[in-house]
């Protein structure tokens, strides 16, 4: 388990106020949008803002977004590949 994935779990729980989920319970390979957590399009936009703000990675293309937000691990992959650092 890498640090970015763990960090993203905590950030998502925080910004989406998933108070009944612990980072341990957050399955990084499960369907992120429309899955069990009830994450929808508005949450995705909130995550987009967070990713740009905290990681400097811009997601503004629908096709890319669909892939990126398929799971938390794909989001982590995308950030790793596109991070300006």
């Amino acid at each position: 388990m890498d640090n970015l994935t763990e960090e993203l779990k905590k950030r998502l729980i925080e910004i989406l106020n998933l108070t009944d989920v612990t980072p341990e319970e957050f399955d990084e390979n499960a369907q992120l949008v429309g899955g069990e957590l009830g994450i929808d399009s508005i949450d995705v936009l909130e995550i987009v803002v967070m990713v740009e703000k905290d990681y400097g990675v811009i997601i503004n293309n629908k096709e890319i977004a669909e892939k990126v937000f398929s799971s938390l691990s794909s989001l982590a992959d995308y950030i790793r590949k596109n991070s300006p650092k």
């Binding site: 910004i15 989406l16 106020n17 998933l18 108070t19 009944d20 957590l37 009830g38 929808d40 399009s41 508005i42 949450d43 936009l45 909130e46 803002v49 740009e52 703000k53 503004n60």
Partner: protein, 712 residues
Amino acid sequence: MSSKKRNVYIVGIGIISPLGYGLDATEQALRKNESAIAPLHVFSIQQPPPLPVGQVQNLPDVTTFPRTHCLAITAARQAMEGCTHPPDAVIIGSTTGGILTTEELLAAQDQDAHNYRYHGLTTVAEEVAREVQCSGQALTVSTACSSGTVAIGMALKMLQSGKAEWILAGGVDSLCHLTYFGFHSLQLVDPHGSRPFDKNRQGMSVAEGAAMLLLSTIKPKNPLGQILGCGLSCDAYHPASPHPEGKGASRAMQKALDSAALKAEAIDYINLHGTGTIENDRAESKAVRSIFPQPPPLSSIKGATGHGLAASGAIEAAIAAICLQKGFIPANTGCRQPDPECQLTPILHPDDLPIATVLSNSFGFGGNNACLVIAQPDLFSSPEPAGQSRPLTLLGKACITGAGHTQQSMERFSQRETMAGTVDLETISEQLPVRKVRRLKRFSRIALALADAARKDSGLDHSPHCVFMGSGWGSLSETYDFLDKLQQSQEQFPSPIDFVGSVHNSAAGQIAIMHEATGANITSSGGDYSFEQALLAADTFLDRDDSSNSAFVLAADEAHTQFSPLLDPSIQPAAPLADGGGCLYLCRQAMPGKLSLQLTFFRKKTNTVIDELITASGGKETLQRNCRMILAGIPAAEAKEGQAQLDSFLEKSGLTIPVIPYREFTGEFASASAVAAVMAVHLMESAEIPAGKKILVLGFGMNVTCMEFWRQ
């Protein structure tokens, strides 16, 4: 024509939009089929380039009042031109009130509460009423982008029922940071400017403007049109996205046709909501096709004007009047290649065509849909209004105060101890599903908890169809957090979640989703009289001929550490805050043994208002015979005047019954009267008040209001 039928005529129109001032300028601009959408310059932004918006040029006098108020007052003056008769009521649809000014004050860290005095939505209606010398009701509805249409629809219903003869109704919104950055954060803004129904459309253009319609049941010499019908519905689907099949939208269209007693074939032109967002235009197309297998000519004008939010429906009602008068159909400006997926072909070039009827669509966040049917005068007559006014019947109640939920609150009240304070968020949310409310902050949670508890209290297994909600201040937490994050990030990272939650009607929309309430859904705002305004809206829209119709009628406000002391003049600096609200589950059907209630009086203060209150209550003798108790609401900011009004009422009516000044128990907050309504019900149930005898809940101050409670 039977004398009972009341046709509602358009007597005068005021319109200000990015297309210009007045009907002539608007028509000329529409005939040119050019877009007025241009890069933002109304206020400066930190991160260029500015996005394309629809802005009003050369607005006079933006120093005394916030921009929204100036737009509204200018449009109201236009509408009233040549009319010496003040309207009986003013109904304004607005989503953000004086927020542009508030944003500037917050950015400057201004702590002088006086400077925030025009923040409230209700202040727009109040200033318009002052301008047009209306001493009746100054009402405000806030149903996001359908607000202006709902305001006109409410005026129609009030006029048809004979509650008023003259009403000035319309919508207004100014551009502001909240909506400019908010819609951008939702990726709903087309960087090339809005082009509704185009294959390549990418979204809307946020805009501003105002339109006011002077409506009357008294036929003027040259009526500009006739409002025939209005249909409201709620998607009860999602806070910010339309139902993908346009189900709510088609219901509203059908209801509007039904209320106009017209078939779909009778519509000559549809003015589409057509914002230019991918989802709206797609859903609206489906809705239109479901009602109109062969649609008449149709277009959205938002590619020309932008989306004036609360103003848009009123602007488009005004434009409908132009269409009727001039035999003219405006083009769907900006659309080059109609989206084949929509399967609708909007009018691409302005056209001259005689038109007798227009259907005008408006849909908003919270799934709030409203449609109007507007027609040539006297071609059709309004349907027969339903029978006599009937009181509402109480099925369930709930309140939240600083003491907790209903039981804890009423226990305190029974001991005549204060309930004032702010209960913690966990207690408020304890009966709410964690996942479903995770995005909601204090205001929406109070509202949801109230509806949930009122439904449970009713013992019924079904929820009502309609929601009528009042709030003095709406979602303060989301509004504050949105603007705060925006400022902290140099306008780079506004929160989409906070924007969606900041909308005044977001709480009522959430209630609709949770309770599958697909009927009318109206959020009213009236400062300290917000609950009374919600009750008035319920009384107007809960049709008398449909006894199965039922509604949550509620009001709530949240205490906010930074905002509340700045906004609510009844809150003293550094004083402990109070909040909460109350909810009644009501229906029209009379039920023996159940409690009845009625809003019997709502007027602005005047020299004669107390005499009028006594008359409306049946006169001195009736009051003395029937009234057993009074709950009196005197907001702290109006302590002196309110007390004088109460004293005058007691003296003139000769009543010597117990008077409970309820704010001593609830604390100071705008929706305190909603808690008072629950207190009245509690007293009716616990004190031995015989059938037919009444408790009055009176509101004093800027307005004087009366709600009566009794057992059937």
